[in-house]
């Protein structure tokens, strides 16, 4: 099964350039082939998840065996958490690519869109499977640079401005990450993740390693748009074409932000409670400030983008609570519960936020506007968009029986059990604010008085409707993950992968 790991990078990378080559001459090639490629990859990742369980796969690129137990060359490795991320990335990539079948007709040169999309997925898959920190940086940059280009894809004034802002801040983030990796290499003399963990664990804490930790926290904080570093996100995520917004908000900030953050601070560094408190504080700040900023927005996609910041805050806060408990030798089971809640919410957020951005894309496709004040009464003319967005709104606001309810419940229960009553209350309040802002979205877009300026006779084409329905079904089905059978199959391997190194 290890031999499958390079395929997750090679296949999308190869198809990116095949599309750039052939897409110009065969108009339908990329619109049909690319969704099929992602479907294949998501089936492959689900199959891996079903067979992997608690084991860790290691793959030595080029067949370079370790010399005297010291790894040389690049290692790929996959444990429960990486495989979970692969499933999220590839399934959402498949749905977004299928949605784009009709959506991309608005733009010229669609083959470049699909080529960049493939490059972005190749980069994210690479981040998930790599076991080498410099390699991680390279894949992270592939994903990030492809996403800069995709944000500017419409080449209108706002889009170029958003892309420029994203590039500058993303570049600063990458610089911090590269510098952090350099300092870590200087301090430990190796780039292999497992080897670094072993060396850091066996020596006394040196200032170099602490410095590297601070740099990496800032770098990945920018990449995952946590609150002091969030200013690029609302512009970038609202200017991109909608399937790309779904990928950026649903997957990219998780795979190159949260995933790397958790990987570094759970699996590579020896956890210290100071860092854990900083991570939790960043999470709480993102959660509260993101939600308050979202309330004032009248542009649908900006509203969704700010709410992404807030929902990412839940994930980070929950993982931070887990890390605090692990450092202070608290109850292991509560720590596992907190990390479980975080990872569960991460998975759920990918699906409901992806769906909400696709809904916004459908509204924009038919009405050519993103302003909520210009919409109204669309529930009767766009029934599929309306009903799926209702499902997604209820899921994100945490209304049973949708998936968001269960993950937020787990996070709040974990906060209470670990003694952070204040954080539990804040989480509940933010959840209520989220409910109010999605009620606003529903009220102004789909109900209320029909507007004269933006009306439509019919709903969106089949590929867009089909994708939204599939995602809405996913939102309902993912709530099954709370049951022990599915939980142990899908989420617990990821939780154990994060906790193993720290205990």
């Amino acid at each position: 099964m290890e031999a499958l790991l390079p395929l997750f990078v090679v296949i999308p990378l190869g198809f990116a350039f095949i599309t750039a080559l052939l897409g110009r001459y065969i108009p339908l090639f990329h619109r049909i082939a690319i969704p099929l490629v992602f479907l294949f990859l998501s089936v492959l990742s689900v199959w891996m998840m079903a067979n992997l369980r608690e084991t860790v796969l290691t793959y030595m690129v080029g067949g370079w065996e370790p010399v005297n137990g010291i790894p040389v060359g690049i290692h790929l490795s996959a444990d429960g958490f990486s495989v979970l991320l692969l499933v999220i990335i590839n399934s959402l990539a498949f749905l977004s690519a299928f949605y784009s079948y009709a959506y991309i007709e608005q733009y010229t040169s669609g083959h470049y869109f699909y080529a960049l999309f493939c490059l972005m997925v190749a980069g994210m898959n690479g981040v998930a499977v790599t076991g080498d920190i410099f390699n991680l940086y390279v894949f992270l940059e592939i994903a990030a640079i492809a996403s800069y280009a995709l944000v500017a894809f419409g080449i209108k004034k706002e889009e170029l401005e958003a892309s420029f802002k994203y590039q500058v801040l993303g570049g600063i983030g990458s610089l911090f990450i590269l510098f952090g990796i350099g300092v870590l290499y200087w301090a430990t003399g190796t780039l292999n993740m497992a080897d670094i963990h072993k060396i850091i664990g066996s020596t006394a804490v040196s200032p170099g390693i602490v410095f590297a930790g601070v740099l990496l926290l800032a770098g990945f904080g920018i990449k995952s748009a946590m609150v002091p570093f969030h200013s690029w996100l609302p512009d970038a995520h609202s200017s991109a074409p909608s399937p790309i917004s779904a990928m950026l908000s649903g997957v990219l900030i998780k795979s190159i932000g949260i995933y790397c953050l958790l990987r570094f601070f759970f699996n590579i560094f020896t956890a210290s409670s100071q860092v854990a408190y900083v991570i939790t504080t960043l999470g709480v700040a993102s959660m509260v400030i993101g939600a308050f900023l979202a309330i004032y927005q009248w542009d649908i996609k900006r509203l969704l983008a700010y709410s992404s910041i807030s929902q990412i805050g839940y994930v980070v806060m929950s993982a931070g609570i887990g890390l605090i408990l692990l450092c202070n030798h608290g109850d292991i089971h509560v720590a596992a519960l907190a990390i479980f809640g975080g990872i569960y919410h991460l998975m759920n957020h990918a699906f409901f936020k992806g769906l909400l951005f696709l809904n916004a894309g459908s509204l924009e496709y038919r009405l050519k506007t993103r302003n909520l004040l210009k919409m109204g009464g669309l529930a009767s003319s766009m029934p599929v968009t309306s009903s799926t967005s209702l499902v997604a709104s209820m899921a994100i606001a945490g209304i049973p029986p949708f998936n968001g309810f269960f993950s937020k419940l787990v996070i709040i229960v974990a906060a209470v059990k670990s003694g952070f009553y204040g954080l539990a209350i804040i989480a509940v309040i933010v959840s209520i604010i989220t409910l109010s802002l999605f009620l606003k979205f529903q009220r102004y877009a789909f109900y209320g008085k029909p507007s004269e300026s933006a009306t439509t006779e019919k709903d969106v084409p089949f590929s867009m409707e089909g994708t939204m329905i599939l995602l809405a079904v996913c939102c309902l089905l993912l709530s099954l993950l709370i049951f022990p059978f599915f939980r142990n199959l899908i989420l617990m391997p990821a939780v154990h992968a994060l906790m193993n190194a720290t205990i």
Binding site: A3, P6, V10, L13, F17, I18, A20, L21, V61, G62
Partner: protein, 143 residues
């Protein structure tokens, strides 16, 4: 734009070939001397860019040139991927396996696949830099 004076045109015509050959030399000796695919590729791209700058931008069919260089770029990456993936099918079946005979260290034909990788990377870098340059020139010309 009609390009620069006759002297500049003639000198660049004479120099471009030599610069191109030097780029190929750097690529081919990538496994023996400092340099390699990336450095050689930039030198090769430099020889093309020099010709375009000296002869003015109308001389070449820029759009066709740009399509061609972007096609070469894609093909070079695909060849690179194929060479790397072929490692999965031969010998010990590792991705990026160096399955060609290694030869004597220090010889020009040695190190198995690495010179081949260097050549492909060089082609890719040269084509990519040329595409970027042509992108700027076309943007400026159409403005």
């Amino acid at each position: 734009m009609n390009g620069m004076s006759l002297i500049v045109k003639k000198i660049t015509q004479l120099m471009a070939g030599i610069i191109f050959l030097y780029g190929v030399y750097v690529m081919l000796h990538g496994h023996l001397t400092p340099g390699g695919g990336f450095a050689g590729g930039t030198i090769v791209a430099g020889s093309f860019i020099l010709l375009i700058v000296a002869n003015g931008i109308r001389v070449f069919g820029l759009h066709r040139e740009e399509q061609l260089s972007s096609a070469v770029e894609s093909i070079a990456i695909l060849v690179f991927l194929l060479l790397a993936t072929a490692g999965l099918l031969t010998g010990a079946m590792w991705f990026f396996q160096n399955y060609m005979p290694h030869g004597t260290p220090g010889n020009l034909v040695s190190a198995g696949l690495i010179p081949v990788y260097n050549l492909v990377v060089g082609t890719e870098v040269a084509a990519a830099l040329l595409t970027i340059f042509l992108g700027f020139v076309i943007y400026k010309a159409e403005d």
